[in-house]
Amino acid sequence: MSQAEAVARTPRPLWSLGLLRSEIAMTFRRWRTLALLAVLAGVPVLVGVAVRIETGDGGPGGGGGGGGEGGPAFLSQVTHHGLFLVFASLAVTLPFFLPMSVGVIAGDSLAGEAHGGTLRYLLVAPAGRTRLLLVKYATTLTFCLVSTLIVALSALATGALLFPLGEVTLLSGTSVSFGEGLLRALAIAVAVAVSLAGVAAIGLFVSTLTTSGIAAMATTVGLLITVQILDSLPQLHALQPYLFPHYWLSFADLLRDPVYWDQLEKNLGLQALYAVVFGSAAWARFTTRDITA
């Protein structure tokens, strides 16, 4: 422990990756994260079993392929093909369960560290405020992807167990092989994960405003619900294309042949816009904030 030793050290170029790895490992080791993922994994099982029980007596399924039941999208096709449970589960979890868990992770990301006081030790380490913010956002995006994949995989496993598999009939009527169906399911999972980038950025911004993790989570989830309601009011038609959940269900367009890219691209652009706007706001706030907790 001498001064000469201390002077010799210089910052390492790739250390940000080390911090990111530490952050991701820590997030996914937390009991809370695992509980959220367990709930998300349970949803497809619940949906699958419910559909199975309802149609188990040799009935013709949910009233044919038209999907005219008014329930969540794809639910009626599930009995014909197990892969549709993946689409149905994502359609069920995307409006609320998935963004809520992203809101919990994003909202707690900085506020939780501030609340526990560990934020000050990370900053004097020194993690660097911009880097810490980027690492937190990257971790939240990782969670978006992992949580979506978990829903998809759980649905795939349940679907394969309870329902027939085989050639997949797309929404446009064409049939594709099971392999291509799987690929499209993967693409849909990625599209759903990307749809959550906007909520993640909002949660991160809220997280820089407070030192209470709970308050940040509640605010983010509250915002999510409010925006969902606004998005369903016909009077606000002019405003709706700018609300982050507006194009969420566009992922269904990946099940057409040819794929309708229009809404998917709009969704991507909208999420990027939210990420940039709220990311910048979070940066402006976090880099100038006095850390007193």
């Binding site: 422990m1 050290r9 390492r12 911090l19 530490s22 820590m26 526990g116 000050r120 850390i291």
Partner: protein, 354 residues
């Protein structure tokens, strides 16, 4: 970040950073502030024009009642809070601008330890080490192990941090500050929550680190502790710096004319003893049971009456007592303590500042 050698003779106070200037030489100050000020919303000054100069290699005690701005000062030094006016220099570089270069060379314990309760002690240290851009991941395990041993936590390293006692958390916080060789350690109340044995260990650790050349900046409300380990001290109250200097100088300069050492004589012949002491120039003589206490006159003033070749040494006071037939059973003097300095400066003792 090796600094170029200091040009010219050492100045007492290097100027605060000039924009566009070369990085300043490391210099003789580990921490240096001029007019450091922090105003919170509403204009209340938490820290008001602080001029702090912490010499390199010193163990610097930072004293003040709770709420006087000590922690705000430390947070500004560590780049956690933006100063309202002027800058601080830490290890010769401006803070918070040079935080990326300065902070890896600084170990800090700020306002108590903060840990991830769901991680083990060892994983907590790994986590903080991963946040340090200058830390080499290849040596991480070894450094974490050494830091744990240094604070006596090796045996409890696998336990979840939420199961730690306050003293263990404090030790783990210290271990985090010791993950790397440091040039400067900023320790805010490092013995808080420790038992007497733990306090002794921490004091020994601080001395050991100081002996290696690490500058230690130690805030504490335990005056006793500062007196035992610090070479220098500063006293702060209501956001202002009242004084700073070596611990030895502090009592001399601050107490100055009031810095009378106390005298206590234990004797059954109290009345006679009091008479003799008064004759010899001792002031404020009081009798309680078999004890006669008083204040010695300042060292430069003659002891005793001026006309009759009075005793000039404290030992001669004793001789005078014995000569007068007083049965002296105990005779002692007490130097003014840091606590006297503190009370003389703040006039308020250790109450929370309003």
């Amino acid at each position: 970040m090796p600094a170029p050698p200091a040009p010219g003779p050492d100045r007492m106070r290097p100027p605060v950073d000039e924009p566009g200037a070369m990085p300043a030489p490391a210099g003789e100050w580990a921490i240096e502030t001029q007019g450091l000020t922090k105003a919170y919303r509403g204009g209340r000054l938490a820290v008001d024009g602080l001029d702090l100069a912490v010499p390199r290699g010193s163990v610097f005690g930072f004293l003040g009642p709770n709420g006087c701005g000590k922690t705000t000062t430390i947070r500004m030094l560590m780049g956690l809070i933006e100063p309202t006016a002027d800058r601080a220099r830490v290890l010769g570089q401006p803070m918070p601008a040079a935080g990326r270069r300065v902070l890896p060379r600084v170990g800090a314990l700020i306002e108590g330890p903060a840990l991830y309760g769901f991680l083990s002690g060892r994983d907590n240290l790994r986590r903080f080490d991963a946040a340090d851009p200058a830390a080499d991941p290849r040596t991480r395990e070894a450094r974490v192990g050494r830091a744990l041993e240094r604070v006596g936590l090796a045996a409890a390293a696998g336990k979840k941090a939420r199961a730690y006692s306050l003293g263990m958390k404090q030790r783990l916080g210290l271990a985090a500050a010791l993950l790397q060789p440091r040039e400067l350690l900023v320790l805010d109340e490092p013995t808080n929550g420790l038992d007497p044995q733990g306090m002794r260990e921490i004091r020994a650790l601080v001395r050991e680190l100081a002996a290696d050349g690490t500058t230690v900046f130690l805030s504490s409300h335990l005056l006793d502790e500062i007196e035992q380990v610090c070479t220098h001290a500063a006293v702060m109250a209501r956001g202002r710096l009242l004084t700073q200097g070596t611990v030895a100088d502090l009592s001399a300069t601050v107490l100055g004319p009031h810095g009378h050492a106390g005298l206590t004589v234990i004797t059954p012949d109290t009345a006679e003893a009091a008479r003799v002491l008064k004759e010899c120039g001792v002031t404020g003589v009081e009798i309680t049971d078999d004890r006669v206490t008083g204040e010695l006159p300042p060292p430069d003033a003659p002891l005793g009456g001026a006309e009759d070749g009075a005793p000039r040494e404290i030992a001669e006071l004793n001789a005078a007592l014995v000569h007068a037939g007083v049965r002296v059973r105990g005779f002692g003097t007490a130097r003014p303590s840091l606590e006297d300095v503190f009370v003389a400066l703040t006039g308020e003792g250790f109450d929370v500042a309003g």
